[in-house]
């Protein structure tokens, strides 16, 4: 049996899904998360029913890409659980009535039930059930209230198949239904209303956004540095270093295997940034230097998502983003990019036109450094002084804007207008924030660690074979002439294709000046995406557009690096 979970965007569908199936899924408080649908299983008596989390849709007459998918999937379902936001009955019932026209049995989950009390909304569920002709069960996805009842009543799902001649007739029926089942009582102005009013106000909203983003940045840095300074680094030095030193002695403090596994000893000690062995740098960078920042970033992102702030940011950024050939929606993939460019490029799918997707993906690859890269930039460039970190970020931001302005003129087409629902502010459901954080951190470890280790291995072997000297000599004119960098940096720059965090790590032993560090990290951030992003770019944009995007990246990186060399 195939059960479809359908409803408007942002009604807590994904949370309900994770409650029903017990699987961990990513659920967010903004539309467009589940353009790619998620599948899970629910034990129903003897049977193992398949549950599909259908992308959020307002109507079965598709008006966007996500809704197309929803309407298509509708045809294959044996039963529909229609998730309805109880605090917004009228608009949600539009989809419900459309579902009830179809020959598929339906059950209604009246979700966010707890919120109706805060908002002074009273709904007579018995009456609603009677009027709709299908079971109606109040649920609270976040706490799990009503889930068991929902499952118990699935067999009662009914197929009224009442049809309406026109949309007007349907709305008339909805108006009638709502007036019969819902009564509103007075409620007080809450902290939410105050915040919502503030963030809607044009000037207040901008100030609020700056405050939010600045606070986010400082909290991320605070958590990241805190974990490194008090947890991962001490733990590593206490447990891992003595073991490695023993191994080093056992291997005779040098030789082929020593170089591969432990790397070079600096003054007889292991230096985790410079030794460059599989078991030293290869493990230290992802787990000690980068992981804390990944945790900090995704923790804050999860909160911003589930509070419902991102759609407001989209509205605020819409005017600016239109100048760059995008619209407000594009802020969502862009912000994801600060974590990792791979899901960011995938999320450009929520944008309507091919043109927007190309511009957004290119800008993300150029101007948005991922958390792993940022952790290393802050760690390494930050040693020279925070102002140098600011120069790197400033250069990236300026390139993001300027290249956007150029692409907006150069790429044919126009950017469509924004239309986005603004959900009310909600307290983030901690269970969901926690699950999402775990899921994202786990996938970082699973995907990044093997690539990091592979990269370190490849670097060591190429180094031993002398390949790097060869490349360095070829690239020397460009590097020293244009960018003012020593020719050895070419090694790090080319390794950036595999892993950018490792690449920054490779700059550490080169004893670069602050200016050279700024130039090399900026170029590294811009010049091309890492191999994982590369693959996703090709998949999302097609090989031709991916090559175009790459050409833009290389040109932009050389120009910006060259300018920095002239100006700084």
């Amino acid at each position: 049996m195939k059960i479809l979970l359908m409803g408007n965007p942002n009604v807590g569908k994904s949370v309900l899904f994770s409650r029903l199936t017990g699987t961990r899924t990513v659920a967010s408080n903004y539309p467009g998360t589940t353009v790619e649908f998620i599948k899970g299983y629910l034990k129903l008596g003897e049977e193992n029913a398949e549950i599909i989390d259908v992308p959020g849709t307002y109507t079965l007459e598709p008006t966007s890409k996500a809704e197309d998918v929803a309407a298509e999937m509708m045809k294959e379902g044996d039963l529909v659980i229609n998730v309805v936001d109880a605090t917004n009955l009228e608009r949600n019932l539009n989809l419900t009535l459309q579902l009830l026209e179809r020959p598929v049995p339906v059950v209604v989950a009246l979700n966010m039930w707890d919120d109706t009390h805060h908002r002074g909304i009273n709904i007579d569920t018995v009456k609603l059930e009677e009027l709709l002709g299908v079971p109606v069960i109040p649920t609270v996805g976040v706490t799990g209230q009503g889930i068991r009842e929902l499952v118990r009543r699935l067999p009662e799902a009914a197929t009224p198949q009442v049809t309406y001649a026109s949309s007007d007739e349907r709305w008339a029926k909805i108006g009638d239904t709502v007036s019969q089942v819902q009564s509103l009582s007075h409620r007080h102005h809450t902290w939410r209303d105050v915040l919502e009013d503030l963030s809607n106000h044009p000037a207040g909203g901008a100030a609020f956004a700056l405050l939010v983003l600045a606070a986010t940045f400082f909290v991320i840095r605070f958590i990241g540095e805190g974990i490194i300074g008090y947890v991962t680094d001490p733990l590593f030095n206490w447990l891992w270093t003595p073991l490695l030193m023993k191994l080093s002695l056992a291997l005779g403090s040098g030789g082929f295997w020593h170089d591969i596994l432990i790397g070079k000893l600096i003054n007889g000690e292991i230096d985790y940034f410079q030794s460059f062995g599989l078991l030293s740098t290869g493990i230290y960078i992802p787990l000690v230097a980068v992981l804390p920042y990944i945790i900090a970033f995704y923790f804050m992102l999860g909160i911003l998502e589930d509070v419902g702030y991102l759609p407001r940011l989209a509205v605020l950024m819409d005017t600016v983003l239109h100048r760059l050939g995008l619209h407000g929606y594009a802020i969502i993939p862009t912000i994801l990019g600060f974590g990792c460019n791979v899901p960011a490029v995938m999320a450009t799918r929520i944008l309507e036109s091919r043109r927007e997707r190309f511009i957004a993906a290119t800008l993300i690859s150029i101007g948005i450094p991922c958390a792993a890269l940022q952790a290393m930039i802050i760690g390494l460039v930050g040693q020279q002084g925070i102002q140098y970190v600011a120069i790197v970020y400033g250069s990236l931001f300026a390139s993001w804007i300027i290249i956007g302005l150029i692409l907006n003129r150069a790429v044919k087409g126009f950017s469509p207008e924004l239309i986005i629902e603004i959900p009310p502010y909600r307290f983030p459901p901690w269970r969901v924030v926690g699950e999402k954080l775990w899921l994202r951190v786990f996938s970082f470890i699973k995907e990044a660690l093997p690539i990091v280790l592979g990269t370190v291995l490849v670097v060591n072997i190429l180094y031993i074979l002398g390949v790097f000297d060869f490349i360095a000599n070829i690239a020397a004119p460009v590097l020293t002439g244009l960018l003012g960098l020593p020719k050895e940096t070419v090694v790090a720059l080319s390794i950036g294709f595999l892993r950018k965090d490792i690449a920054v790590g490779m700059l550490a032993p080169l004893a670069l000046t602050a200016k050279q560090l700024v130039i090399s990290t900026t170029v590294l951030a811009m010049v091309f995406p890492c191999v994982a992003t590369f693959v996703i770019l090709a998949r999302e944009l097609g090989a031709r557009d991916m090559l175009k995007a790459t050409g833009i990246m290389i040109a932009a990186a050389l120009i910006v690096g060259g300018l920095q060399n002239l100006i700084l």
Binding site: T63, S167, N200, L418, I419, I420, E421
Partner: protein, 83 residues
Amino acid sequence: MSQKIQLALGQMEAGQTGTIIQVLGGRGLIRRLDALGIRPGKKVTKISSALFRGPVTLRTNQTQVAIGFGMANKILVEIDIST
């Protein structure tokens, strides 16, 4: 005395409430707005508009929606002005 005037949603003042008379625009736009509950006969409150012809935020029922400035000017609204 009260007087009824018609104007585009984009021209309303923040905080004003009116009734939607008509959505001028193609079928696609009408359908998209209709699905969100923005359709003739509905009461709509303009909450705010961003600077530089940015998006307009409005409320119908309990839903807040932000739409582009161009779209907002295709929605014709009648408002009561008491004099």
